[in-house]
């Protein structure tokens, strides 16, 4: 009771059900079940943004955020590889600026593969995948330097961003770049909204790769996620109901979730 060091039975069952629903969504979609995804405005802008760079004949800058290898960064790399394919098909240069040494090889591999996939391996320039600095603000200054020296036409920021985000986007805006940004954590979203042309908010970030690629695995997962969110809402509704009727110490749901200690 009141401890979250290890799971209890309620948590095990809940966690397994959530996992099972998502995996079931994936498997159903892989078997060819049609799945609907609604339009996500920030993401439809990606093609337009890449097209703009092509028209202007200037490069694209992409930042996969500041985190090391974790779930947020892996999602950013998935979006990166989609954008690289678009850009590579239009022979537009894309510069990736990195903060984590561990992400560096993974990003390089993703980009190289994307060039291979569209049959333009000769256009891949390893120099354009750049480790800038592992220091947050050195990274920001370095990225601003690249954005202005390379006269970047389009600026993509997808990943985990912190305070440095506004340094990147405000300078990018002053230099006239079209900017599309997405970050799951809410902290930097207000600044993205104030300075970028399109912003991907919260969970839309995780829906991104599904929406962009329409890959059945991902759309299926997205449908599973929606069901999971409905379950979370149901739990909250039940909890609110119980809290309204009972005193906190009688609210068994609270205890099951490890609270009320």
């Amino acid at each position: 009771m009141g401890s979250l060091e290890h799971a209890n039975w309620f948590m095990r069952i809940l966690f397994l059900s959530l996992c099972a629903i998502i995996v079931a969504g994936v498997l159903l979609a892989q078997r060819g079940r049609e799945m609907f995804i609604r339009r996500i405005p920030g993401l439809t802008a990606i093609e337009e943004a890449v097209g703009r760079a092509t028209e202007m004949g200037r490069p694209i800058f992409f930042s996969p955020g500041l985190d090391s290898i974790n779930i947020v960064t892996l999602q950013a790399l998935a979006i990166l590889s989609y954008i690289v394919r678009l850009a590579a098909a239009q022979a537009t240069r894309i510069i990736v600026g990195l903060r984590s040494p561990i992400v560096y090889p993974v990003a390089e591999e993703s980009v190289r593969e994307a060039y291979d996939a569209v049959g333009r391996p000769e256009n891949f320039r390893p120099d354009d995948i750049r480790f800038i600095s592992d220091e947050q603000f050195a990274y920001a200054l370095g990225a601003v330097g690249i954005i202005s020296r390379e006269e970047v036409a389009t600026n993509f920021l997808f990943g985990a961003f912190y305070a440095e985000a506004l340094i990147l986007t405000e300078n990018g805006r002053a230099l006239g770049a079209l900017q599309v940004a997405g970050c799951p954590e809410p902290t930097q979203i207000p600044f993205f909204i104030a300075t970028c042309d399109y912003v991907v908010i919260g969970d839309e970030y995780y829906a991104a790769s599904a929406y962009l690629t329409r890959e059945p695995t991902l759309t299926g997962s997205l449908v599973g996620q929606d069901i999971c969110k409905a379950i979370v809402i149901a739990i909250i509704a039940l909890g609110v109901g119980l809290a309204t009727v009972f005193a906190p110490e009688k609210n068994f749901l609270l205890t099951w979730l490890g609270g009320g200690g």
Partner: protein
């Protein structure tokens, strides 16, 4: 802890310095043999299977420790004691990737310098700064100065201090503080009542901004603090917006993220993820 006993049993420390170097050499040779053998023996399918297996085991280890039933006090299961040493090992292994990033930097700036590209003197400054910090940072470390350091410090330490406290730290702080200007100009530009959404954003920003500073408290100080209307004192209103309007909206986002990240984790863990990096080809 039976884990460390097991480790001692399996990998006993070398008895003498000479034996240590022998063991090290043997371990290196052995590892290379294993890696070469893996490379030779495994076909594309085998490799893919191995990668998926390693990913699965790593995720299973950390996940199972949380979900597997525990007993005793402190409550633990058969994996609990492994968490700490495995985590340390992963940290150490991860630390060796530093070279990758540094290599990328040296490559870009080295080429600028070698080919005298425009701005090569900046690349020179980069090299000097890197080298100076590396040399004096290490030097300072191995001076093994007593703590607190003496009044008159040896010159390598002095140079290190100039590099760190005179350049590195102020550059960091100054860059961060640029945000004061950027946020002011972003606020001025973005907060226009063009759309309903922008107007809502502006109103909330206004209340919070003014409620936070002494001048806000002063503006509405005519409302008695213990009356029902105290809610409308700017500092109270600001806190209410943050706690009762901002909090639930953030939580709404957070629950969405939680599920999204869970799905992403699952797909990676089970090697279900698709997209360039995770595609079938090798």
């Amino acid at each position: 802890m039976w884990f460390s006993r097991l480790l001692q049993r399996l990998f006993p420390p070398a008895p003498t310095p000479a034996a240590l170097y022998l063991y090290l050499a043997l371990a290196v040779v052995g590892s290379i043999v294993i890696i070469v053998a893996l490379h030779r023996l495994l076909g594309p399918r085998g490799r893919r299977w191995l990668i998926a297996f390693v990913t699965f085991i790593a995720g299973l280890f950390f996940g199972l420790e949380y979900f597997y039933p525990v007993h005793g006090d402190p409550a633990k299961n058969f994996l609990t004691d492994w968490i700490e040493p495995v985590s340390v090992m992963l940290t150490v292994v991860g630390a060796f990737t530093v070279g990758l990033g540094i290599y990328s930097l040296l490559q870009v700036h080295g080429r600028n310098l070698a080919q005298r590209r425009p701005g090569w003197h900046n690349s020179l400054a980069f090299f000097l700064a890197t080298f100076a910090m590396l040399v004096f940072g290490m030097w300072e470390h191995y001076l093994h100065l007593p703590q607190p350091p003496p009044e008159v410090v040896p010159w390598p330490k002095g140079i290190y201090e100039i590099l760190f406290n005179g350049l590195f730290a102020p550059l960091q702080a100054a860059t961060f503080s640029l945000l004061a200007f950027y946020i002011a100009s972003a606020a001025y530009r973005a907060f226009r009542v063009r759309t309903g959404e922008a107007a809502l954003m502006m109103a909330a920003a206004f209340i919070v901004m003014i409620g936070q500073v002494p001048v806000g408290a002063w503006l509405t100080s005519f409302i008695p603090a213990d009356s029902p209307a105290a809610f409308f004192r700017l500092e109270m209103l600001g806190e209410w917006v943050l706690r009762w309007l901002n909090t639930p909206a953030q939580r709404g986002i957070i629950f969405g993220i939680a599920v999204g990240a869970l799905a992403m984790s699952l797909r990676i863990w089970l090697s279900l993820e698709r997209g360039t990096f995770f595609s079938e080809q090798s």
